[in-house]
């Protein structure tokens, strides 16, 4: 499955091209001894009323909860426990375990040591890979080998052409990067210096472009990073 990205080169030319990831295919599967396939199924353990929070609302203290579990299996709903689940919808509930409809969100930022740094309003991220401002290189080339020791590249997408013109466009970019054994940082937004956001409300990533060529073919990869390669004590 693929999606479009509005990508510019260093000369300021831009084109909408395709980027796609590689889906992980399983290597191994579990079968019964007589060769039949198996699959994984999500099942229900208990409703909210059967949870510790639900039982505390009903029985008020741990001793009474324990009694109720021992005498009446209060932690199990015989009709629901073990039920196969398909799609569920995320909701927010109050301390009475009732759904709430009007909510407000805030972010709590913690330091690496776990102490609270600040509270703030939620930052809404807007996708910027297909906006009127193309994703563009920041002009500075980084040695591939040098950057491999500074950043961790977690996610990778391959960029593909959609016609002959975009083939030339992408091949030229890949060739330049291949010959210089370099990668180049990409940025979104008006100035081309913002991290990339792939969908509204999604994570933001620093992105780098890597190119390789082989005869008349090319490989252009978008590497996403959110971690520096730094030792911790």
């Amino acid at each position: 499955m693929s999606r479009y990205i509005n990508l510019a080169d260093e000369k300021g030319r831009n084109a909408e091209v395709i980027f796609s990831g590689i889906t992980k295919k399983p290597l191994v599967k579990m079968i019964t001894l007589d060769g039949k396939d198996t699959h994984t199924q999500r099942v229900l353990k208990g409703k909210a009323e059967n949870s510790y929070e639900g039982l505390m609302l009903q029985f008020k203290d741990d001793e009474q909860i324990a009694d109720a579990i021992i005498k009446n299996d209060a932690d199990i709903d015989l009709e629901m426990t073990g039920r196969f689940l398909e799609e569920t919808n995320k909701i927010y509930i109050d301390k009475q375990l009732k759904p709430v409809s009007k909510i407000s969100k805030k972010e709590i930022v913690y330091n690496p040591d776990g102490t609270q740094k600040e509270e703030r309003a939620v930052k809404d991220s807007i996708a910027n890979i297909l906006s009127e401002n193309p994703v563009k290189p920041n002009g500075k080339l980084f040695s591939k080998k040098e950057m491999s020791r500074k950043l961790v590249f977690a996610k990778k997408y391959q960029i593909s052409h959609i016609n002959g013109l975009t083939f030339d466009f992408l091949f030229e970019m890949a060739k330049m990067l291949h010959e210089k054994e370099s990668i180049i940082m990409l940025g979104g937004g008006v100035k081309g210096n913002e991290p990339l956001v792939f969908q509204d409300g999604g994570k933001s990533y620093r992105a780098f472009l890597e190119g390789r060529v082989k005869d008349n073919s090319y490989l252009l990869l978008l590497h996403l990073s959110n971690l520096e390669l730094k030792g911790v004590k």
Partner: protein, 205 residues
């Protein structure tokens, strides 16, 4: 210190424990706090498809079932590759020696990293400096990493920075070089997901 792993390049053998680098411990982390109209903190839950049953986090389990949806004891199953041949159990990297094969920068850039480990040489006979010296010249080594015995090991690459040795694990991707030929493309719809702070210090760049 955690149990060490024995690594061997063919020319050099050394032992080191591996400690997972937790991004939260490097940059910190963000939690989202939801409150209702009275300012009371809310819990997150799920609503089942009957429209009325509410379940809390941790209220579900995964079960292995057969084609009749009867639960199957995992001990009665066997692992096979997708072509039907019996799968081979790959031992844990902690059992025996891990053979390191020379790799290159392209291998590293093909690795979709899912975890990062830092090698810990404390209290062991092999000095960290000795291994760092060996890794000079921008060497990369690849191997198959398994925390515990499993049928699918993770692809891994070991490399050194100026002061530390790291192992990056994940899966090695295989990409197709593209020629000037058009092929059908399926475009997927955008899906909204959660948000995450980008607080990497890029001052070095």
């Amino acid at each position: 210190m955690a149990k060490p792993i024995t690594f061997n390049t063919g020319e050099k053998s050394f032992q080191a424990a591996i400690n997972k680098v937790d991004r939260d411990k490097v940059y910190g982390y963000i939690e989202e706090s939801i409150s209702d109209a009275n300012g009371e903190i809310c819990l997150s839950g799920n609503l089942l498809d009957d429209g009325s049953t509410i379940i809390l986090s941790g209220a579900t389990a995964l079960k292995t079932v057969d084609f009749n949806n009867n639960e199957v004891d995992k001990k009665s199953l066997k692992a096979v590759y997708m072509d039907g041949k019996d799968a081979t159990l790959i031992p844990s990297s902690y059992d025996g020696e891990v053979r390191l094969e020379l790799a290159n920068a392209d291998d590293l850039y093909n690795l979709e990293v899912t975890a990062v480990y830092q090698l810990d040489f404390e209290n062991l006979s092999v000095a960290k400096k000795d291994v760092l010296t060996y890794f000079e010249g921008e060497k990369y080594y690849r191997f198959v990493f398994n925390y515990r015995a499993d049928y699918e090991g993770a692809d891994a690459i070991m490399l050194a920075t100026e002061n530390d040795v790291f192992v990056l694990t994940g899966r090695m991707l295989s990409f197709e070089y593209l020629e000037n030929k058009n092929k059908p493309v399926v475009i997927e719809e955008e899906v909204a997901t959660g948000n995450e702070e980008d607080n990497i210090d890029f001052g070095m760049l």
